[in-house]
């Protein structure tokens, strides 16, 4: 492993000299964090809502106010026909519609079941779910009030007290920012090393390199080593911004987090290196890297819960380093858990890093055949 050091030094000088790439690697996390951190809100509120109130009575107006008071609905228009309501939703000017029939106040007064209709644009899963839940909630509260009045009760027979642990405010940034640390590291690091070997091949420097006694392992490790430092700088940047801009807590052991991050970064770089040994040109490397990055975002549990996925996709997710690192990030940052809870993830990441480096070394031929 003696020849690792000159290789590392060479890569380090080249990395330092390539100011643009270096700037992108440090700038991209900042921009992405600011963008996604502010943009992604999983708790959908103020859904634009259109109302078709056929009855036009104080009772119906009272109900509409109840919908608005949940904070989930924002009334954008009153229309006077069912067709107009559908048109608003069809055009996307509203995502929900409330239709109150003419009979509503009469049925309510009589004590028969009064029906109202809530139409939801389900082409957008998150907001339609939020609208459905909120609509059901409005009805339930109304029902309870009416029933308990009829039964002359002032106390509820049953109450569920929900405690959202680890993120009591149900804040999106607490959920998104730790995930973004992993996603940003994966995106930039896989891409940068995917280019590593093919760049040397394209520039003709690989031919000169392989007539020297440097071994494949020395070459590979020397290539990724400087970027481990870059990865740690990226992570620190995102964590600091997360802490001071988005107020994301840092509950657990920072040293443990960095130790596991180190392993994860090596695994991501090794993944890029592996891509690099599969392709012949930098352009192919770029495309292949994107092909690797997208499943990382969609199947790792960053955006969508893995429990909801079919078993096959849970398995695919399980072979991505990011899936396991996300557990570590959320575990340490939000839950404050430590080694006893995370040793499995550490073992898996270590195994992946080793395997990916071994595969890359095997795939890479130190010949021109």
């Amino acid at each position: 492993m003696r020849l690792f050091i000159p290789m590392f030094r060479k890569e380090f000088i080249q990395m330092r000299r390539d100011r643009l790439t270096l700037g992108i690697m440090v700038g991209v996390p900042v921009i992405q964090l600011m963008m996604f951190g502010f943009a992604i809100q999983t708790d959908v509120r103020h859904i634009p809502t259109v109302v078709f109130d056929e009855s036009r009575t104080p009772t119906s107006r009272d109900l509409i106010a109840a919908f608005e008071n949940t904070g989930n609905f924002r009334i954008v228009a009153h229309v006077d026909g069912r067709d107009a309501l559908d048109e608003w939703i069809g055009k996307g000017d509203a995502q929900a519609g409330i239709a109150i029939p003419h009979d509503f106040p009469r049925d309510l007064a009589r004590g028969t079941t009064a029906t109202i209709q809530v139409v939801v644009d389900a082409s957008d899963p998150l907001s339609s779910q939020a609208a459905l839940a909120a609509a059901a909630g409005v009805a339930q509260i109304r029902n309870l009030a009416i029933l308990s009045a009829a039964a002359h009760r002032t106390e509820l027979p049953l109450e569920t007290r929900v405690r959202p642990r680890y993120n009591p405010g149900l804040r999106s940034p607490n959920y998104i920012v730790p995930g973004l640390v992993g996603v940003i590291l994966t995106m930039t690091l896989v891409l940068v090393t995917a280019m590593a070997i093919v760049r040397e091949r394209e520039r003709g420097t690989l031919e000169q390199l392989i007539v020297t006694p440097i071994t494949k392992t020395e070459l590979m490790l020397g290539k990724i080593a400087p970027y481990v430092g870059v990865g740690l700088v990226q992570m620190t940047t995102v964590l600091l911004l997360g802490r001071f801009v988005f107020d994301v807590p840092l509950t657990g052991n920072v040293l443990l987090l960095y130790t596991i991050a180190f392993i994860f970064i090596v695994a991501s770089l090794a993944m890029g290196l592996f891509v690099s040994t599969l392709v012949r040109t930098q352009q192919q490397a770029m495309q292949a890297a994107f092909f690797f990055v997208l499943p990382n975002i969609l199947l790792s549990g960053f955006m969508f819960p893995r429990q909801a996925m079919p078993a096959v996709f849970q398995w695919i997710g399980a072979v991505l380093p990011l899936t396991h690192f996300l557990k570590v990030l959320r575990g340490i940052l939000l839950k404050g858990v430590g080694l006893p809870e995370l040793w499995r993830e550490i073992a898996i990441l270590l195994f992946m890093a080793t395997l990916l480096i071994a595969l890359s070394v095997r795939r890479f031929q130190k010949t021109l055949d």
């Binding site: 003696r2 080249q14 031919e207 390199l209």
Partner: protein, 249 residues
């Protein structure tokens, strides 16, 4: 056999049905400047790459600096220097950084690396270019830097694959003087491929390759006389045409 630097025994390389090098038998002495001549596709580059351990022979073998290319292609890399027609160094590193890197991966450390770098710098006159980025050098200087990096570990055999492609005549002359100094002063064996017949004339012996096999071998004068040509260039063309006719019939 201690004075033999390179010996090929029935060296053959096939790419599918195409025979790039066919049954090549050569013996090159230590300190010799040996030229491999031939048109494009004659097998020069394939031969050199096999001798450097970059590609494996399909049949036969070669002994380079006492090591069998089949058995220990990695061991050979410590003993030889190689410079290709394409500038293979890092254009975003300076001259000094390139030399330092190659010194490093040839296993030189600390004072011995610094000592060797200053020797090579003095030998090739690179001292005023040390801090220049390799990418900004002219063709002639790039080639000197390439040579410098290939010489860091004092190889006993030096392979040069069309080293003077894209280099101006004055720089080419200087380069050949350097090659001869290496061979005479340091006993380095130099194996060089070239298109230029005036350069071939500067070799001690030359081998003419055509379509993967050897068609003439000897000093430039001997090769010229073998076919009754006036000079090497005549001989080259005559032999090549004769060979192509034979292959067609």
């Amino acid at each position: 056999m201690n004075d033999v630097a390179v010996e090929t025994r029935h060296l053959t390389r096939r790419y599918g049905p195409i025979v790039a090098v066919r049954d090549l038998n050569l013996s090159i002495a230590k300190g010799e400047v040996f030229g491999l001549l031939g048109p494009n596709g004659s097998g020069k580059t394939t031969t050199i790459r096999m001798l450097c351990g970059l590609i494996a022979p399909t049949e036969g073998t070669a002994i380079v600096a006492g090591v069998d290319v089949r058995e220990a292609p990695d061991k050979i890399k410590e003993l030889i220097g190689y410079m290709s027609q394409r500038f293979g160094l890092y254009e975003d590193l300076t001259v000094a950084e390139n030399m330092d890197f190659y010194g490093g991966i040839y296993g030189l450390e600390g004072p011995s690396r610094r000592g060797r770098i200053s020797e090579v710098v003095a030998f090739l006159g690179l001292d005023r270019r040390l801090d220049q980025l390799a990418g900004t050098l002219s063709g002639g200087w790039k080639q000197r830097l390439g040579l410098a990096c290939a010489l860091m570990h004092q190889p006993s055999v030096l392979f040069l694959d069309e080293p003077t492609a894209g280099v101006d005549p004055a720089a080419r002359r200087g380069f050949w003087q350097t090659i001869h100094r290496l061979a005479t002063e340091q006993g380095t064996t130099v194996i060089v491929t070239t298109h230029y017949m005036d350069e071939a004339g500067r070799c001690g012996r030359v081998a003419l390759l055509s379509q993967g096999h050897l068609i003439a071998l000897g000093t430039p004068d001997e090769v010229a006389q073998q076919v009754g040509g006036q000079d090497l260039e005549d001989a080259f063309i005559i032999l090549q045409q004769r060979d192509e006719q034979e292959q067609q019939t």
